[in-house]
Amino acid sequence: MTEQVPTADTVTPTGETLNVLHKRFKKAVRQDDRDGYDGILIDPARLVEVATAARDELGYDYLASATAVDYLGKGDHLEMVYHLCRTSGGPALVLKAQTPRENAELPSLTGVWSGADFQEREAWDLMGIRFTGHPNLKRILLWEGFDGHPLRKDWREAYYEADQKPFDSRWPDGHVRRAEQDNPYGKNVRYPDGFVLDEYQSTAEDALYADVALGLDVSADLATERVVVSMGPQHPSTHGVFRMIVTLDGERIEALEPVMGYLHRNHEKIGERNTFLQNMPYTDRLDYICSLSNNLGYALAVERLMSLGSRYEPPTYRAEAIRVLMAELTRIVNHMWAIGFLLNDLGAFFTPMMYAVTERELILDFFEATTGSRMMCNYMRFGGVAHDIPDRMRSEASLINDRVRDENTMEYLHKLINERLPRAIDQFDEYLTTSEIVTNRCIGVGVLSTADAIAASAAGPVLRASGVPYDVRRADPYSIYADLDFDVAVRYHGDVYDRYLIRLDEMRQSIRILKQVWPLLMDTGGQPFFAGRGGIYSPRVPAGESYGRVENPKGELGYYVVSDGGQNPRRYHVRAPSFINLTALEQMCKGHKVADVVAILGSIDIVLGETDR
């Protein structure tokens, strides 16, 4: 059930598109000619028209990412940046619209792509751009009533110390302090001027329930009452601190509103204070099951920026091979985990999970020996990787009762790829695929049609299970994927069962890739794993923007990085697949029973670290 998809052409999309658009929209579209920038600037008044034309006439049917940038001190405007793609492949087209910082307002694109919904809400929440025509413009990551829009450059957090790291207080006169000691309120809080406690009424919860419809449904055969159930944020099947406000008519789902932000850790704000390198370990903590492929996406984005400069050396071949090895192993880890959890949600409590975790531990042993950590690998660097693969995976006893192991790494890998993992995948297949419990619960549940999946910007297994053979590894190849032989897995029913099957397919394809990468690693043994000189902790990153995207196990993970030419990114945005895949959740759940919601959510496979960032 796989299909060969066309690979990317190398023509830059901006030029060709601009010609077409210019004929129609004249002055409303123009080339973004700032240094290091690319894309088309659009007059906000005609944004919707241009977007519709790009979708319908130029074939850019997929809104990959939409985010805002604050150009304080550099034009003093806010800029909304849209990355559009063709599901048939090819590089992204970038559209931009600018608006003044005061009373920032732009037309909403939710009418063109429903996938713009959450992303625009995020831009409103964090940047304060009001989108006219948006059906539900509420805060999404923070709570209703929060003071200010924190990603604006002039907004300062409670523990604010300086705009950029490294902070001067650390060296040479680093007298240790906890941040609490410098804050008047101690607890990482900051209140607006003139805040009066006794007059304050919290609106955070009320806002969630503001427009749910209650009452008796008399039109149905059974007169049923509508009830509202709040699932989460502490719920065993929400994969973390995710919450849903579910309106039920009897057992049937009438409406569902995802509520998130319970793990909003201000990744982007912190990322803009960090230096480029310092962001690398933070990316581990986005999708914390797949830290290595997160690293890869960020490395790509920054390397793309660095390649604008003169002294840039691309990663060596060995480095690329190691990266692919790591990314594919990560995919297997993730899909195992996802299947285990899906079964957990279906009620097969913990047994499939145990089998999945066992295999994961064996892969993690390799990660730990190579990168130094089981989960938070922090392994990729700009221009390569941090260490080479060690000759031996050996441990050294340092605590009492320590039991040591010693294995040849390449042999371990070989065995892992050729014997252990294929066996484990087959075992899952045998164990679950035909099980009537699984098929009854999954087939025909949570269907997402092809058109809806594309419109809602779904990505990864969710998109491919709905019949769209779109995979960034093929559509816009990075690293050495262009040389590797693999198929893009695709299924056509778009239900929970297909999303389960596609994960099995993808694991098998990953094994196929790994089998090709292993000899490459043997051949390149001893070659440099890092290009250029090591030991540079603040690489020169020229001014400009770049969007690096990789096919993460959960879908397209994109990093939109804007550099001023300094040590820190001006804007650092993460296009998180888990976040955007949730856009279609309500659509998938409507009409199903409440017990199916957890199965559907499990089949989307979200990780809250990435959803909320």
């Binding site: 003071d147 804050n183 008047p184 990482n188 809080v189 955070a204 932000g261 914390y288």
Partner: protein
């Protein structure tokens, strides 16, 4: 106070001669020791954690519960989804301001005796995301914590070490000594104060500081006397 404690120490001296008419009460204290031992043995080996994953650390928590590290060996495999049935809250990950409200509520819903283990740098003291505007610098600012397990993330073995530390702590608790545990005292113990989501999170215990600051016209420069 100091005399008092000396006196208590003297009382607990096993060599202390016991008058005949007080033998029975001595039996009670010994009984208490025995009872505490039995009771603690039972509790330490059946700690039911709450199924409650916050962030990255939760993944390691699940790994700890799975086959390689197998929390079940400590009687901790009964992971409950409901706070009403659990003894231990494993705060496994970054505590955000939005999330601390439900956490405090869950804590209040747990029956006593209850324990809190802060897993990972984030839950202990903010972790790498401490600077963030939506992150609480340590769960102990809102609820009492029994064991801190540093690390980012702590490996499963580090978490197990923390759980063993918790067992040791339970071993040291006594039924009669009210100072060792709050829940054997008379009457219900105090609930943790629920914070409120305002323009930023509002901790009602800080009300006096907030009022004072609102009274002041300018942002004061000196830090207030809050707990660090």
């Amino acid at each position: 106070m100091t005399n008092n404690s000396d006196f208590l120490k003297e009382l607990h001296d096993p060599e202390l001669p016991v008058p005949d008419d007080m033998r029975s009460s001595v039996a009670v204290t010994n009984l208490d020791k025995l009872m505490s031992t039995v009771y603690n043995w039972g509790r330490r080996n059946s700690i039911w954690p709450m199924a409650f994953g916050l962030a990255c650390c939760a993944i390691e928590m699940i790994a700890t519960a799975a086959s390689r590290y197998d929390q079940a060996r400590f009687g901790m495999e009964v992971i409950r989804a409901s706070p009403r049935q659990s003894d231990l809250m494993l705060v496994s990950g970054t505590v955000t301001k939005k999330m601390v409200v439900p956490i405090v509520r869950l804590y209040n819903q747990m029956p006593e005796p209850k324990y809190v283990l802060a897993m990972g740098a984030c839950a202990c003291g903010g972790g790498p995301f401490k600077d963030g505007y939506n992150v609480v610098g340590g769960i102990d600012k809102y609820i009492p914590v029994d064991v801190y397990v540093p690390g980012c993330p702590p490996t499963p073995q580090a978490l197990l070490h923390g759980l063993i530390m918790l067992q040791k702590k339970i071993d040291g608790q006594s039924l009669s000594n009210r100072n060792s545990v709050p829940w054997y005292g008379r009457g219900p113990s105090d609930e943790a104060t629920m914070p409120v989501l305002g323009p930023d999170i509002i901790d009602p215990r800080q009300a006096h500081i907030l009022r004072r600051q609102a009274g002041a016209t300018e942002q004061p420069s000196e830090p207030a006397d809050t707990d660090a």
